[in-house]
């Protein structure tokens, strides 16, 4: 099992009252959610969370952020959010593995207003994303996190190093290996699909 580090934070800061800390956090949480919600959601999704779990997990990430906002340096929000997301995703996967219900690979969140299938224009995209997840599933958690951070979320290796709390050299080697596995799996999947066609 991977051991992900504690997110970037400032535990050495003087402790303040709970009310003040939560209050301070509210404004930053709003701004942060506006800016980073989609990225965190997408990151969690690509880390392998089932569609039904992603929204909950994203909320959880921002709740963690809200609770610790006063200890996070300005500018370090994205790193903190991604680092929390890695841990939340890991927890969610464990919980999902323990739960009795198994979700199918494909599916979108429930929408009471319009439960009809997704419009045709999106089908190609959805199919590609399902294949993407299939390929990503062949990576280990460590390799997957690095690949998603760098190649999908366009974080630098330095950022990824901060988020995952591992040296840049390790990031580089994991990324190299992750890309190799990804390419191999994608090629294998393509061959399989072409055969089916």
């Amino acid at each position: 099992m991977p051991s992900f580090p504690v997110p970037v934070s400032r535990p050495d800061r003087p402790q303040r009252g709970a009310v003040a800390r939560v209050s301070d956090g509210a404004a930053r949480v709003r701004t942060c959610m506006d800016t980073h919600y989609d990225a965190v959601w997408r990151f969690l999704r690509r880390l392998g969370l089932a569609p039904a779990d992603v929204e909950d997990a994203t909320q959880k990430v921002f709740l963690v952020f809200a609770g610790r906002a006063s200890a996070i340096d300005p500018g370090a929000e994205r790193s903190f959010l991604f680092a929390s997301a890695v841990r939340v995703a890991s927890d969610a996967r464990r919980k999902r593995a323990r739960s009795r219900e198994m979700l199918a690979d494909e599916g979108e969140s429930f929408d009471v207003q319009d439960p009809s299938p997704t419009v045709e224009e999106n089908i190609d995209d959805r199919r590609m994303r399902r294949w993407l997840d299939e390929v990503l599933d062949t990576l280990s958690e460590e390799h997957r996190a690095v690949l998603v951070l760098v190649d999908l979320e366009e974080q630098t290796m330095a950022d990824a190093s901060d988020v995952l709390g591992i040296p840049k050299g390790t990031i580089a080697s994991r990324l190299r290996r992750a890309r190799e596995v990804f390419e191999e799996s994608a090629t294998a999947l393509k061959a399989k699909l072409e055969k089916e066609v």
Binding site: A26, V29, D56, Q59, V64, R100, E101, F110, L193
Partner: protein
């Protein structure tokens, strides 16, 4: 059609993956609800302070509110997160919108401090602790029908006194999709359709507590028609200079679900003193998001027909109650 450069195309496809349109709004409302409840709990200086300090997970946020006996998170989740359909969320104010409006004026501590306990508080009404833990496990084998029937709005009251419950919608593929968390003794409202199935599970253990498929009341209107058109203008509420506080009492009516979008105008005719508009939740508790209305101004509040409010003065004294005026045709259920 499989693209030539398959691996690159796979990576590119991820860029177009976005959350559902209302996901961010729901998340914001949910997080802010949790924050407000945690602040309230912390301000109350009771046992929830510890929980608020470590506000880190949904469970802790819920614990903070529950321990504080503050705002009903059941209602909060419902308004802000997943239990209300998107159309309702856009027409009704989110906790975020309310908080943003309220932040323009400081909320006097007295307003929060003088709120009375809810009538029929969950802890009092709830059954003994073992009702949920000892409930016989029902067989979970139903799924929602692909073509659902008429619209139905249901209110599910939990008799659990300790356990929080998770509500899942069982889709037509029989997958469980999380819809909301219900605090012990709280009420959960859901707009749905006949033929849709919901499972209720213990939040901590994931143990199945109940499986429900709410039926529509005969008198219930079809939401597809009823919710169409402009929002209902609720009767204007005016607070005059000379209005004196009324005796403090339990909330006369709880907020109810199923109403169409509405707008409430509250006029503060006082020259110097602001007033506070308090929302009442599904369990008759005033929520922790007062909207302060400056002297000489009119506040426009987006809401739904079933919403209830209280108006308080700057000292927290009760001035008036605003009760729902629509015909409630929801289906009421008790779980377990």
């Amino acid at each position: 059609m499989i693209p030539e450069n398959f691996s690159k195309a796979l990576l590119r496809s991820a860029k177009n993956d976005v959350p559902l349109p209302n996901a961010k709004v729901r998340a914001m409302a949910h997080v802010e609800h949790a924050l407000a409840d945690a602040m309230q709990a912390a301000a109350a200086g009771n046992g929830a302070l510890v929980a608020a300090k470590t506000l880190a997970t949904v469970k802790v946020a819920v614990a903070a509110a529950v321990l504080a006996g503050a705002a009903g998170l059941g209602g909060g989740y419902e308004l802000g997160r997943t239990s209300a359909p998107p159309v309702k969320i856009t027409s009704a104010p989110t906790a975020r919108a309310v908080a943003a409006e309220a932040s323009a004026l400081p909320v006097p501590a007295a307003v929060l401090a003088r709120r009375p306990a809810a009538s029929g508080a969950p802890a009092e009404a709830a059954a003994p602790a073992d009702v949920c833990t000892a409930a016989e496990v029902v067989k979970a084998d139903k799924c929602s029908t692909p073509k659902p029937g008429s619209s139905v709005t249901f209110a599910m009251k939990t008799r659990c006194s300790e356990a929080s419950l998770d509500v899942f919608w069982v889709d037509e593929s029989c997958r469980e999709v999380f819809r909301g968390l219900v605090a012990p003794g709280a009420t959960f409202w859901q707009d749905s359709y006949e033929g849709h199935v919901f499972r209720v599970r213990d939040h901590a253990t994931h143990r199945l507590v109940s499986e429900i498929s709410p039926a529509r009341l005969e008198a219930a209107q079809d939401r597809a028609k009823y919710w169409k058109g402009p929002r209902t203008e609720l009767p204007l509420v005016v607070v005059h200079e000379g209005d004196t506080p009324i005796p403090e009492s339990p909330v006369p009516e709880c907020t109810r679900g199923g109403g169409r979008g509405a707008v409430l105008h509250v006029k503060n005719e006082r020259k110097t003193e602001p007033i506070a508009l308090m929302r009442v939740d599904f369990d008759c508790k005033e929520t922790g998001h007062p909207q302060m209305i400056a002297p000489g101004t009119v506040a426009e509040v987006g809401c739904s027909e079933g919403h209830a409010f209280r108006v308080r003065d700057a000292s927290g004294a009760l001035l008036t109650d605003v009760v729902p005026t629509f015909l409630d045709t929801s289906t009421y259920l008790t779980v377990p």
